[in-house]
Amino acid sequence: MDGVLHVVSSDRPIPRNSIPAMPAAAASEQACDQALLRVDSISKRYGDQTIVSDVAFDIQAGEILGAIGPNGAGKTTLLEVIAGMQPVDKGQVRWHGKPLPPSRRREAIFYLPDGVRPYQEQPVIRVLTFFADVYRRSTSEVENTIEAVGLTPVLHKRVHALSKGYSRRLMLMLGLLAPHPLLFMDEPFDGFDLRQTREIVNLLRHEAVEGRTFVLAIHQLADAERVCDRFVLLADGRVRGVGTLNDLRARTGIADGSLEDIFLALT
């Protein structure tokens, strides 16, 4: 380990579902002070079609934030715009309160897109070695992460021969090799069965405790409820609700409602 990965945040990671419900203005003020990253009124259009409209929310250090919504809600576009992978029409992103221009987003955020199988002709181990060498990861770090992600059985396989689940694990591994404090993942549980999803949830939870922050774009509400500390509910490119499950329950007045009930109530 070169020291970068183990640098733990001086801000304590926020325990899951721990923020109590509070008035919106007060919550916003407090969030602004503590925010690792603040998304400020971001909008994105393709021609005449508005994909993301005036989206604003904060990301706290050490949390797992879920961008939740059905297919076509604008989750992927939102993540790509924040990560600087697409030009934005309006709005800005702040890192610890200071503007973070698109050209410098990759210094803070690592984005794992959906549906990517990188370097398909290469064996898995070579792809991992490339990323590990770029980020100067030690052999023991790489081996530990391989073990944690569960890639050991397919190290000798070429990427194009991987199943969908192992392909996801490879992408997750690449993200974990990156030393970035903030990891964006688009549909990270797509292709996993229940047991595998739990393994990955535990792994993400462990990483979050270590100080890394995650933003996950998820369309399966059950998975999102299982893993995320807070939620940004999206529909038609607009934010319909932001907060912990308890916040959202309080806002909708559904005391024991699941995320699915809340989402349906808000959209």
Binding site: V4, F110, V134, H156
Partner: protein
């Protein structure tokens, strides 16, 4: 707190990036398929060249005068590397496009651009991979030259290296065009069409407008194939080399502009225009560089050494006024035999084409048509000859200097050779393809040390 300052782009090592690019290009089928296709292509050109050279040599062995006209540069090198040129023009774009196009199609580019490298570094690494691919693809051509040496043939090192250098620059230019095409296109197929439009379009330009006057002549100079002509004549032109380098850097810069996905199209277009203007300015400047070296063993692009020395000492301006149309064959003769050599030898010389606006006279009504006027200082003279044997003494007369005595033993002997090429058949149709297939298989092996280590660890943990 993890801070973005910890992950600045300057900190990333370059070695893994170059290694990755090399692995990527070696793992693709395009390079190996191209190499296999080049074996018979280069081989057939080599057989033909050796055969024709042998036929000419049969007479050359009987006559020293005929022998002196036999140069391996024209007889073997240019035709053999001509096949290499065809392969680079038609097949190499597919190899070069893959360097970027594959990552674009698989989505890996979206990971690559997030790594701590600047866009120019990424493109430089890809250009280095293209260069490595070109070096590998030159193996059949190189083996033909080795075969020629084994058959007893002569090769002049400066001629050979110069010609290979020209092909290297041409390969880099095609590679840079391919990278640019891959950067601006969504898919590899579109990029291939764009690149082939450049390379095959150059052929069309050569066929249709070369030798035409005015604007068409200027357009013809934009052809990529013009790059090789000077090198095939045994000339190393500093201006041409600088021009090609500027074009390669220009296309690479354009690829860099179009690589990052998070930049608005309008900004990319503005940066592209700046790049194009900068390259146009650079090309305009390098056309002023007239430094050229004749690297041929027979010094075909120069006058005899004694004449060269004397012409270089002429201090006053020499003005040549040519009353010929550019498309007139006599002008081509004059240009090749006299004017081009004079331009390289005389320090202060200018050429005026007075007949440029004239068409070829049909009835000899144009009195001065065909005349070439040479003015040196206050003296001038007129000639219609295209031979240096007549013009050089006239120039010495104008300058008031004596013609130098010819240096003994400086004549080019020529290198006639009658050789069979049966072994070359076996090499190009069986030996070399087999070696390439084995190298392909070897390149697809897993990285053993890491794999073995991981396997050992994996087995240990599961026992």
């Amino acid at each position: 707190m993890r801070s973005p300052e910890a992950f600045r782009v300057q900190t990333a090592p370059l070695r893994p990036l170059f290694a990755k690019e090399l692995c990527e290009i070696l793992s693709g089928r395009a390079l190996w398929t191209m190499l296999l296709l080049m074996c018979p292509l280069v081989g057939y050109s080599f057989f033909q060249a050796v055969s024709l050279y042998g036929e000419a040599s049969t007479a050359g062995l009987q006559s020293p005068v005929l022998a002196s006209t036999l140069s391996p540069l024209d007889g073997i090198l240019v035709p053999t590397l001509g096949a290499f040129y065809v392969a680079v023009t038609l097949l190499f774009p597919f190899v070069a496009i893959r360097v970027l196009g594959q990552e674009k199609e698989s989505g890996a580019l979206r990971l690559l651009v997030q790594l701590p490298y600047r866009s120019p570094t990424l493109i430089a690494a890809k250009l280095a991979a293209v260069l490595a691919a070109w070096a590998l693809s030159s193996i059949p051509a190189l083996s033909a030259l080795v075969m020629w040496g084994l058959l007893g043939g002569h090769l002049s090192a400066p001629e050979t290296l110069n010609l290979f250098f020209g092909h290297l620059l041409y390969g880099l230019l095609v590679g840079a065009v391919a990278l640019f095409a891959a950067a601006v296109s969504e898919g590899a197929a579109t990029a291939a069409i764009v690149t082939l439009a450049f390379t095959i379009g150059s052929w069309v330009l050569d066929f249709t407008v070369v030798g035409q006057p005015g604007l068409l002549s200027w357009i013809a100079n934009l052809s990529l194939t013009q790059v090789l002509h000077a090198f095939e004549q045994g000339l190393l032109s500093v201006g041409l080399v600088a021009g090609i380098c500027a074009a390669v850097l220009g296309f690479a810069a354009l690829a860099t502009v179009w690589l990052p996905p998070g930049v608005r199209i309008r900004n990319k277009l503005i940066r592209s225009i700046v790049c194009v203007l900068a390259v146009a300015l650079a090309l305009g400047l390098v056309t002023q560089i007239r430094l050229t070296f004749d690297v041929t063993e027979d010094r075909r692009n120069s006058f005899p050494a004694a004449d060269q020395r004397l012409l270089a000492s002429l201090a006053q301006p020499l003005v040549v006024t040519v009353h010929l149309a550019r498309e007139d064959p006599r002008y081509a003769d004059l240009q090749r035999n006299v004017l081009a050599k004079l331009e390289r030898a005389v320090p202060n010389m200018s050429i005026r084409l007075a007949g440029e606006r004239q068409s070829l006279p049909t009835n000899g009504v144009e009195d001065r048509y065909g005349e070439v006027e040479y003015s040196y200082g206050a003296h001038s003279d007129i000639s219609r000859s295209t031979s240096p044997r007549e013009i050089l003494p006239m120039l010495y007369g104008l300058a008031g200097v004596s013609a130098p005595a010819p240096a003994p033993g400086s004549d080019y002997p020529g290198y006639p050779l009658v050789a069979g090429s049966q072994v070359a058949h076996l090499w190009f149709f069986f030996g070399l393809p087999l070696c390439i297939a084995l190298a392909w298989w070897w390149s697809r092996r897993l990285p053993q040390p890491i794999a073995a280590r991981s396997s050992r660890r994996f087995n240990h943990e599961h026992n």
